[in-house]
């Protein structure tokens, strides 16, 4: 132990600098994410489980092919990419929901948020940097899961529903799977930032993603169809389909746009409240 401060020039460091350059905040947020072991493990697990489920579900589909009824076979043959990717991503999207919420709520539960806001008192740049870093990370991890999933799934389904990356819309759909997860991550992060509470945040996001969709389908007639189509996750995952289905109200990009809009609104609300609320 020593009692000597490492430097002894008070005030030396207060030379004026550019206000809140964004690059350093990105490095800091990246350090935050990579230095918490549970986050790293969750992302590794996400890739492994996505691949595992792709093999499992598509393997089962092929094994059951002769017992599957004709309309379902036709659905799969019409959009094999969705069949391939959907299997793994139904699962991995839950991981992203939880991670997205916790990336911000863990700061509140541990008190880290106070240190973060002391370092960046204008606050919004901190949340913006966190969003950028997390979305990029999820996108990259999402693609690391999506491309192998596609190739593995395509080879499993090959005999019954052949599909190639060069088929129309397929490359966009595979990249879209990662895009969907990235925006879903931001969506969850925004809700976490609004709720500031891990359990509440996760409940909120899962409610949006898993509960609201089936509920909306219960609404009568075209109202139900419209509400359902414009729900964030329902609209969002259209981007992972090769082409617009006959019953879809939105095209893949329109759906993704709707999802981005939801997310942007929530993030804006989160930033507004972050500045207004006491930390």
């Amino acid at each position: 132990m020593t009692t000597a401060p490492a430097t002894t020039h008070p005030g030396l460091a207060t030379t004026t600098r550019a206000r809140h350059p964004f690059g350093p905040l990105l490095s800091s947020e990246w350090t935050k994410i990579r230095s918490v072991r549970s986050t790293v493990w969750a992302l590794v697990l996400l890739v492994v489980l996505t691949l595992g489920f792709t093999v499992l579900i598509n393997g089962l589909t092929v094994a059951q092919w002769n017992k599957t009824d004709a309309s379902q076979r036709a659905d799969i043959q019409a959009d094999p990419v969705w069949q391939i990717l959907g299997a793994g991503f139904q699962l991995s999207q839950l991981t992203i929901c939880v991670l997205g919420v916790m990336v911000i709520t863990s700061e509140y539960s541990t008190g880290m948020i106070r240190a973060s806001l002391l370092a960046v008192p204008t606050r919004i740049p901190m949340l913006a940097a966190k969003s950028v870093v997390f979305a990029l990370l999820v996108f990259i991890v999402g693609e690391i899961a999506a491309f192998p999933s596609f190739f593995i799934g395509a080879s499993i389904l090959h005999k019954h529903a052949p599909v190639a990356l060069s088929d129309p819309g397929v490359l966009r759909a595979v990249i879209g799977a990662g895009l969907y997860l990235a925006v879903l991550g931001l969506f969850a992060l925004a809700i976490g930032a609004l709720v500031r509470h891990t359990a509440g945040g996760i409940t909120g996001v899962i409610g949006f993603v898993l509960v609201l969709a089936p509920l909306a389908q219960l609404l009568p007639g075209s109202l139900g169809r419209h509400v359902h189509a414009y729900l964030p996750s329902e609209a969002g995952h259209l981007i992972a389909r090769a082409h617009r289905g006959p019953d879809d109200l939105l095209s893949p990009w329109q759906g993704f746009g709707v999802f981005c809009l939801w997310t942007a609104l929530l993030l804006a609300a989160a930033m507004y409240l972050l500045v207004r609320r006491d930390a």
């Binding site: 132990m1 020593t2 009692t3 000597a4 401060p5 490492a6 430097t7 002894t8 020039h9 008070p10 005030g11 030396l12 460091a13 207060t14 004026t16 600098r17 550019a18 206000r19 809140h20 350059p21 350093p24 905040l25 490095s27 800091s28 350090t31 935050k32 230095s35 918490v36 072991r37 549970s38 863990s106 700061e107 541990t110 008190g111 880290m112 948020i113 106070r114 240190a115 806001l117 002391l118 370092a119 960046v120 008192p121 204008t122 901190m126 207004r276 006491d278 930390a279």
Partner: protein, 319 residues
């Protein structure tokens, strides 16, 4: 330099800070003293821009905290509540903060050595003891080599060696010309550390003076008097300018009068004395006396102002 002007803050309908104004000068340790719940932490949070004041403003080095660019280079803060992600190592915690201020990694190693956490720097902060957590907090505060330090109860959880260390560190930082603003609810701790005191109770400034003045003012002599005629005696003493504190049916505590004079007065009036004992209140007791009226919680007997003598006695509670 820290300047607080007319700071107020309420949470719900509870007023935590009530129109506080004070200035913290560089080059000395300024103690921020008050009982638990007096509003010390809230005031510090307002100064640091974590909470928004209802009225007033605070500036550090002439600017509101939120307007400081790379604020950790100007202000180092240790908050009472932990501000560390439990899943992150001490090193990474400091690195996260250093990166936001464009400080080199070398600086992280320097502050880790400064607070003596070298052996646990690669361990997760969640497993740290209270004392290690405080040291990590000090390391974070020192990261940007700031000219202003705001430390909320820094000795909490430290062992005697640690307390001595932080005391010397604060004195040294002040001697280097920095502004050191440190809160505590322990008068004795502040008496040996701080040169200047800002004392608050119930969100209001009670005293803003040098520690020397405060001690002289607070630890004045008092005399314990027991008499079967306590009521009469008290009236006589008050008439002579004494301040009298009386516990129900118990002894009187008399200030502003020396024991011989009390004895003479009692003799003049023909009052019986059972006991006449000069006392010197401890610093801690003096502080409690001063802040008692502003105490948020706790049971109190009747108190007659030690600064403004009154004729009240045998009172039954707070005014």
């Amino acid at each position: 330099m820290i300047e607080a002007r007319d700071l107020s803050k309420h949470y719900g309908d509870k007023l935590a800070v009530d129109h506080l104004s004070f200035t913290v000068e560089p080059g000395q340790v300024t103690g921020f003293l008050g009982p638990n719940g007096a509003g010390k932490s809230t005031t510090m949070r307002l100064i640091l821009g974590l909470d928004r004041p209802d009225t007033g403003s605070a500036t550090i080095a002439g600017k509101p905290y939120r307007e400081l660019s790379e604020p950790l280079r100007t202000v180092g803060a240790l908050l009472e509540a932990k501000a560390v992600h439990t899943g992150r190592t001490a090193y990474n915690h400091l690195l996260v903060l250093a990166q936001t201020q464009q400080l080199p990694r070398r600086r992280v190693d320097e502050v880790i050595d400064l607070v003596g956490l070298h052996s646990v720097a690669r361990k997760r902060a969640g497993g740290f003891s209270l004392g290690m957590g405080q040291r990590l907090g000090i390391a974070a505060a020192m990261l940007g080599d700031p000219e202003v330090l705001v430390l909320d109860e820094p000795v909490n959880g430290l062992d005697p060696e640690g307390i001595l260390w932080i005391r010397n560190l604060m004195k040294q930082l002040a001697a280097e010309g920095r502004t050191v603003f440190v809160s505590s609810h322990l008068m004795n701790e502040m008496a040996v550390t701080a040169e200047h005191l800002v004392v608050i109770g119930r969100g209001k400034v009670i005293a803003d003076c040098t520690t020397k003045e405060f001690i002289e003012r607070s630890s004045e002599r008092s005399v314990l008097v027991k008499s079967p005629d306590a009521g009469r005696l008290a009236e006589v003493l008050v008439a002579e300018g004494a301040a009298v504190t009386a516990a129900d049916g118990g002894p009187l505590t008399v200030r502003h009068l020396e024991a011989p004079r009390i004895g003479e007065l009692a003799a003049r009036e023909g009052l019986i004395l059972h006991e006449l004992a000069p006392q010197r209140a401890s610093l801690e007791a003096a502080f409690m006396e001063l802040t008692r009226e502003s105490l948020e919680y706790g049971e109190h007997g009747p108190v007659h102002g030690s600064t403004a003598p009154t004729g009240r006695r045998h009172g039954g509670g707070q005014p």
